[in-house]
């Protein structure tokens, strides 16, 4: 117990109280036996065997009584599961010292915290299995690990109050651990978002600077040359203008590709389902059936991600599945949007080594807080994507 919150009872020595009670017991038994033998104020003569009986009774019962008393008194003096500050300190403790903090707060000889199968904090030496209580660390339905706590004394189980407290503590610890993990994931995601945004800006800048900029400068020079030639050599000026026209057509294509990379225009023109239906990946030999159910209006980020995942999955199906048909289902289910792409091909090879395409699909879904699951069998492969309808942060 911390010096700050020292309880009055905790300063009282358990052995003193135990022996005081034992002393009273010994005297009581002795007196009771002798009184039964006739001891009184007027008769102080007792039989010798009364003393033997008293000693025998005491000898037979004092040790069991002491065994009962000791844990009871110690529990009485120390059963308070720490002060509130001790228990709150568990949540503030560093991951490595959390077990020590719990052991101090609960006044137990061994505590171990296991997270994801790995021991992250240990205090004391693990006693025999029967003396260890294991409490799961949970958040909602997720089991994050377990808390192992030894009884205070070998063979003496924790009280119901202790176990109840352990359960509450494990619940708080689980919530705390989950919050820490979520915070770490959020930090990681934020860093990824910033990195991705900067990469995107760099790519656009490079495309504009290295592609569109020189192309327009070249057109400008060609137009100037054509202007000079126009009076003297109209035929050559015409040929030059034809070159300029071809260059402008190529530049327009570049601009279209750049814009398409930012957001496929098909999405704005046709909507998600039709955009998938009309994508070249859906025209690459497979009979593609695209269905839409309760999709509603989706945020731009969700639309783009689902479109990219769907076209990647269609592309993979066309290239690798060997199937003839492919079904694409886009379905809104409450706060979640489901995209399911199923083909009737030969299925995935086992073991599956996820390539760039699959990893990119997963990353796109993860950026929105969603997931991609690939299932495969003799009847083909299904790529199921679930993303929150509200998109990132939703």
């Amino acid at each position: 117990m911390s010096a700050r919150g020292r309880a009055p009872g905790a300063g009282f020595s358990a052995p003193v109280l135990v022996h005081a009670i034992l002393l009273a017991y010994v005297l009581a038994v002795y007196v009771a036996v002798l009184v039964a033998d006739g001891l009184s104020a007027t008769n102080v003569r007792t039989h010798w065997w009364a003393h033997v009986v008293a000693v025998a009774v005491i000898a037979a019962t004092v040790e069991p009584l002491r065994r009962w008393l000791r844990p009871a008194v110690e529990d009485l003096l120390h059963d308070a599961p720490g002060e509130a500050s001790d228990l709150l300190a568990v949540l503030g403790a560093e991951r490595g010292s959390a077990a020590e903090t719990i052991a101090r707060a609960l006044r137990t000889r061994y505590v171990e915290i296991v997270e994801d199968g790995v021991s992250t904090s240990v205090a004391g030496r693990r006693p025999a299995e029967g003396d260890v209580v294991q409490v799961p660390l949970r958040f909602a339905d997720d089991e994050l690990g377990s808390l192992h706590v030894a009884t205070r004394r070998p063979g003496v189980p924790l009280t119901a109050g202790d176990v109840r407290l352990l359960g509450d503590l494990a619940h708080q610890l689980g919530t705390h651990r989950y919050a820490l993990a979520a915070w770490a994931r959020a930090q990681e995601s934020r860093a990824l978002v910033v990195t991705a945004r900067e990469e995107e800006r760099r790519r656009i800048r490079r495309d504009l600077h290295d592609g569109l900029g020189p192309a327009l400068a070249s057109v400008k020079l060609q137009l100037a040359a054509a202007q000079r030639l126009l009076a003297d050599d109209p035929a050559q000026a015409g040929a030059l203008l034809a070159d300029v026209r071809a260059d402008l057509a190529a530049t327009t294509g570049d601009v279209r590709r750049l814009v398409y990379g930012l957001r496929p225009p098909l999405l704005d023109e046709l909507g998600l389902a039709a955009a998938v239906r009309h994508h070249p990946a859906a025209q690459a030999g497979l009979a593609v059936d695209v269905r839409e159910e309760d999709l509603g209006e989706l945020p731009a980020a969700v639309e783009v991600a689902l479109f990219r995942i769907a076209t990647e999955a269609l592309h993979n199906a066309a290239r690798h599945s060997g199937g003839r048909r492919c079904e694409v289902l886009l379905r809104g289910r409450g706060g979640v949007v489901e995209l399911r792409v199923s083909d009737d091909g030969r299925g995935l090879p086992a073991p599956l080594l996820a390539g760039v395409g699959v990893s990119a699909m997963r990353e796109r879904a993860a950026e929105l807080g969603g997931s991609v699951v690939l299932t495969s069998g003799p009847a083909g492969t299904t790529v199921t994507t679930l993303v929150p309808r509200r998109g990132p942060g939703g």
Partner: protein
């Protein structure tokens, strides 16, 4: 009391056994206290001369323990741990004071009263130290 060292208070209601012990201790303390208050005005010399009364030291001791016993009973009922410790001390002290009276009480009533006090205090000790019957049998309280 400083702000950094608050008095620890056990939250919630006390166990039923502790409430019983507190009630028993309160009754016995009132009984002993009243008896001591009635005997005290006689003074030590008169008590010793009467021959059929407890010794002056026992009377004073009983009075002090009665006051402490009432305090302990109230604190136990308020579920504070230090009250339990105090109650145990008072019960053991009372039992030790009562034991000679069981053997050497001058009258049957005094011996009976001493025996009742000793047994009652023993019962108080037992009730205070009786651990919860619902032991933590389950290895996993949540699972």
């Amino acid at each position: 009391m400083s702000l950094t060292s608050p008095t620890p208070v056990r939250a919630g209601a006390p166990p039923r056994a502790h409430l019983l012990a507190a009630a028993l201790l309160a009754v016995l303390s009132v009984w002993d206290g009243v008896a001591a208050v009635l005997l005290l005005p006689q003074g030590s010399a008169d008590l010793a001369a009467a021959g059929d009364q407890p010794p002056w030291a026992v009377v004073v001791g009983k009075l002090v323990l009665s006051v402490l016993g009432l305090v302990a009973a109230v604190v136990v009922a308020r579920a504070q741990r230090w009250g339990v410790v105090l109650a145990l001390g008072v019960a053991v002290g009372n039992a030790l004071l009562a034991l000679p009276g069981v053997a050497f009480g001058p009258t049957t009533s005094s011996r009976t009263a001493s025996a009742v006090a000793a047994v009652g205090m023993g019962l108080v000790v037992f009730l205070l130290l009786r651990r919860s019957g619902s032991r933590a049998a389950a290895r996993d309280p949540r699972g």
